[in-house]
């Protein structure tokens, strides 16, 4: 899956939780949770949506790797092969 598709999927999942967010506002190399104000429940719901859309189940042990939007894109691309 190419980066642009993954990025679109990430934004679609994010909009379901934070409808006020527009893709242009997000700095891809800055911490995502600070920019979108996601609490742990939001973050979990975000991962649930990604799991539904992409079939990737992110274990808790990998949370620390997923800080910025770019981190998510790289991680998902690697997992999707």
């Amino acid at each position: 899956m190419d980066q642009a598709t993954i990025r679109d999927t990430l934004f679609a999942a994010l909009r379901g939780i934070a409808p006020e967010v527009t893709p242009g506002e997000i700095e891809p190399d800055q911490p995502l949770r600070d920019q979108v104000d996601l609490d742990s429940m939001d973050f979990l719901n975000f991962l649930v949506r990604l799991h539904e859309k992409l079939g990737v189940d992110v274990p808790e042990a990998d949370y620390a790797k997923l800080v910025t939007l770019n981190d998510f894109v790289a991680y998902l691309q690697a997992r999707l092969g």
């Binding site: 934070a18 409808p19 006020e20 104000d37 609490d39 742990s40 429940m41 979990l44 719901n45 991962l47 649930v48 799991h51 189940d57 992110v58 274990p59 808790e60 042990a61």
Partner: protein, 390 residues
């Protein structure tokens, strides 16, 4: 005949605007059915019914704003006939004509409400004004009347029309509701505050290994475990679970913690999870997630807002370590949790680094003393050392 009244929508909510009926005369209803949708400053609320019967008449029409306690529908009890209900209505109408005008409530509510007798009537509006408002697509309930007894006149409608349609500012309304409730709390409730640090090494490890074995959709957050611990601890400390009303404490009939949920765009709502002490952890987590999602899409049920018996707030995600809570009246306590952080801790004489959370209690001194509050926090801490039993 059963009179169905607008239920309490939480301490800070005196009235609701009927948005729609989900039932019509002749429909059978049973306990727990959502029969109407009511809008308040905080949320659209699905109003449930707690009687079984058949809808006989819908007293209030969509668009009406009515105080809590107003009869909004009448139902035939099981086995009751229409003729019997009609008879009862006639009797009531006769009684109403001779009854004295009810006295206005002694304690003036923050939001002026019409006396009970006037409640059943629609907003006073002249036929010409109503026709004009309908033609302009204006909501009659939102127009301020300047005529006798606040009746809405044609000129009021015209003035409203020229002011332009004002988009509803739910954020501002919610802020006013929170301000009223919190000001009352700080004015009336003699708060006392306690805090304790709780090591969560065992709980964190247990949760991590449990979550490892489950897909992301079935993961449990620490917030659910903390909530469960508070709910179970409250069983032995009923003085902190209930309502203080009319100068007396009434213990809760169950343990229904209101969970503080922040609303995007500003505001806060704390709907209840019923009988949280009796729920399994997975079920509690499911309810917590469901409640957060529905609170944020402004779709809660009347029973969730009416009766929280304590509030639990978790501000750890914002990075704070300590919460000094303000009790949500008529409740008598609030438990707050800060962030779970790795801290130095002495464990059986050895200095270790372990995840720790600071739990705080704000409680009502009219009902309990620090001794009781301290025992509650101690019990919460103890329960969290044995997470698999929660």
């Amino acid at each position: 005949m059963i009179e169905f009244r607008l239920p309490s929508l939480g301490a800070d909510m005196d009235e609701g605007k009927l948005v729609q009926w989900n039932v019509k005369p002749g429909d059978p209803v049973k306990k727990g059915d959502v029969v109407a949708v009511v809008d308040t400053s905080k949320s659209a609320i699905d109003v449930e019914i707690w009687d079984e019967g058949t809808v006989w008449e819908l007293v209030q029409a969509p668009g009406e704003t009515v105080p809590v306690g107003t009869v909004i529908a009448r139902l035939l009890a099981p086995g009751e006939t229409t003729a019997h209900a009609e008879e009862e209505r006639q009797r009531r109408l006769t009684a109403a004509e001779t009854a004295p005008v009810p006295a206005t409530p002694v304690e003036a509510p923050a939001i002026a409400r019409p006396p009970a007798a006037a409640v059943a009537s629609r907003p006073r509006i002249s036929p010409a004004a109503r026709a004009r408002a309908e033609a302009l697509g204006l909501d009659v309930a939102a127009i301020a009347g300047t005529g006798p007894d606040g009746a809405i006149l044609l000129e009021d409608v015209e003035r409203r029309a020229t002011e332009g349609a004002q988009p509803r500012d739910r954020g501002a309304e919610m802020r006013r509701a929170i301000a009223a409730a919190m000001a009352r709390s700080k004015r009336e409730i003699p708060h006392y505050y306690l805090a304790t640090d709780i090591p969560l090494g065992r709980a964190s490890r247990w949760l991590a290994s449990r979550n490892e074995a489950h897909p992301v959709s079935q993961r449990v957050l620490m917030a659910a475990l903390l909530l469960k611990a508070v709910a179970v601890a409250l069983r032995r400390h009923p003085q902190l679970n209930g309502h203080y009303t009319d100068g007396a404490f009434r213990p809760g009939t169950g343990i229904h913690p209101g969970v503080a949920i922040f609303i995007r765009g500003g505001g806060l709502i704390a709907p209840a999870i019923h009988d949280a002490d009796a729920q399994g952890l997975d079920e509690l987590m499911r309810q917590l997630a469901d409640l957060a999602a529905r609170a944020r899409s402004y779709s809660l049920r009347s029973s969730e807002l009416a009766d929280p018996t304590i509030t639990v707030t978790n501000l750890g995600d914002q990075g704070v370590e300590l919460v000094h809570g303000v009790i949500n009246p008529p409740q008598v306590a609030l438990v707050g949790f800060g962030r779970v952080t790795d801290r130095p801790w002495v464990d059986q004489g050895t200095l270790i680094v372990t995840p720790v959370v600071t739990a705080t209690l704000a409680a009502d001194h009219r009902v309990s003393d620090g001794h009781v509050g301290a025992a509650l926090l101690d019990e919460v801490a103890r329960l969290l050392q044995d997470p698999e039993r929660l």
